[in-house]
Subunit: 330 residues, 2 copies
């Protein structure tokens, strides 16, 4: 199943089901009041959603309509808890080296994870309003899961059953502010503005056993910046599985239904060949190889595109396509 | 106005208005679907709430009932964004000294703030279920504000108009895990389990101009542990006002209506006289004065009480009264 949320001017929008090829959609507003409601009542609504999805994919629906990604919110326009990891070791290793950071203790055995703001997500084609170019505006291409309710103390072995949906994320970062936030130890606050998500969220079975294996999405993430290809690292190279990330998050707390957990910037050891999913990583490589970063951060008007194709070259989640703009004064 | 939320088995409970003396209450369920809904539609519902509150305080209501704090959720049982500062400088200074931490850059001019989990708050008399005594279980007595929607870029000068309600918080901390979390730079994750709040949230005017001045609550916070007085630091000694904390939070993001911002552990320079609002601070003082911490952290079965009295000795927010218990295995 592929699910998305139409903008309707309300907080939660309208839940829709989207055809496998992302061409057509149908309202699921009769089944759930929104995706968050559907996740909260998953066992209750799953069969009805699946039946509608099957009929949509079979082309047997009268009320379907062409999907316009510009009409979409994030699949969850807001949620109660958004946690983002840094699960690709080579990304963390590189940034530590570049910024002269102390390596976190136990970094190969305990996931790095920060708490993000879940109250104000951006849709896949929404502009990203930000106050200043001088904050070091960066995109970060990621994979994320949406979970059902996860009780405190759930182990990695038991966490898989709570994964409801997968999606892509653009975890926008302000790199100049991130350095300051990191030094406080209190985590990323001002350096993490609103996060954006792919047009659709999909159930893991949509990816098949070759696309979703070992608690990782087994495809490349394709990033372009102002229409130039920037990187295509493989999302399967996570140092921790999503099950391990969920267990880490739930060690001392319950995770409410609708919790989103992100992978952190997708990154591969051979980043010099496959490129990167964020600018900071490329700047880090330039610093190591050429003595100084050459690539600037984003300017107002710049565009980023983040997408993932299956082995047949078909878009799985639709594309995040956003433009950075100057935020209006309040 | 004093507002609270009755447990009803639903996510948001039922909004109630509480009399100034905390003795009686009346349902406001006809006015708003819950406190979060009321905050989101504040301008629309404020007059009706005020009128009902006035009638309750005048003793002119038929449908009122005695208030039982054990029947209450947190005023907001969950919310979209929970941010907690560390705005009492002497608390931060002491803990830096004790834990040998690098002082955060600009700590007197830029507030320290972390993003907390807003999805699973505890009510004022709820047990605090935690996985292990060896995590260093601590209470933290705080003051907090609930805001309306705050647009990105709002300045401290403009932030005051967005403060809707004040309340007390018990920002439970796991000190052994906090050290690890701090070292990652990614902020408090496993070290911050569910936060608890006072029985009622009150509009700032309830405190009068002597109780709410300079963006600070001008009363002592009274903490006791297993019925022994533990501290009564004055909440007016914040190094930053709540307006400054809101502006810090909103620098690169919008804050949705219902955002909670906490003060951090209330602490005064003369902590040796007035005591502390958390155990870590007392242990720090013992380490400095006696060479080693003498006071243990909380054990299962321990109780904490957090309350604030006005100058007439009347409880403003009601008391947080909680017991730490072993969390069940999932």
């Amino acid at each position: 199943m592929k699910l998305a949320t139409l903008k309707t001017g309300t907080t939660h929008g309208r839940l829709i089901l989207v055809s496998r090829d992302l061409a057509r959609a149908v309202s699921a507003g009769d089944i759930a009041a929104g995706l968050l409601d559907a996740i909260e009542r998953w066992d209750e609504v799953h069969a009805a959603l699946l039946q509608l999805s099957d009929r949509l994919n079979a082309g047997r629906l009268a009320g379907d309509f062409p999907l316009d990604p510009r009409a979409l919110h994030a699949p969850l326009p807001r949620t109660w808890q958004w946690l983002d990891a840094s699960a690709f070791h080579c990304h963390g290793d590189l940034l530590e080296k570049v910024f002269g950071l102390e390596p976190p203790p136990e970094k190969r055995t305990v996931p790095l994870m920060y708490q993000g703001a879940g109250d104000d997500f951006l849709g896949p084609t929404d502009d990203m309003p930000l106050p200043s170019e001088s904050d070091g505006i960066d995109f970060e291409g990621e994979v994320a899961v949406i979970t059902g309710r996860v009780p405190m103390g759930t182990t990695a072995a038991d966490a898989g059953q709570h994964i409801r949906l997968l999606m892509l994320a653009n975890d926008c970062s302000l790199r100049v502010l991130a350095g300051k936030d990191l030094k406080t130890g209190f985590g990323f606050m001002q350096s993490k503005p609103a996060t954006s998500f792919s047009p659709v969220a999909v159930t893991p079975d949509e990816l098949g056993t070759e696309g979703w294996a070992d608690g990782r999405v087994q495809h490349e993430l394709r990033i372009s910046w102002n229409e130039h290809p920037f990187g295509h690292p493989h999302a399967g190279r996570m140092g921790f599985s999503f099950q391990e990330l969920i267990a880490h998050a739930a060690r001392t707390r319950n995770l409410s239904a609708g919790t989103i957990i992100g992978s952190g910037t997708v990154s591969n050891e051979d980043y010099r060949e496959v490129g990167s999913a964020c600018i900071a990583e490329r700047r880090g490589i330039e610093l190591l190889d050429q003595g100084a970063p050459k690539t600037r951060y984003m300017h107002f008007g710049d565009r980023v595109r983040i997408e993932m194709l299956d082995r047949g070259g078909r878009s799985i989640f639709g594309a995040i396509e956003q433009r950075v703009v100057q935020a209006p004064r309040p």
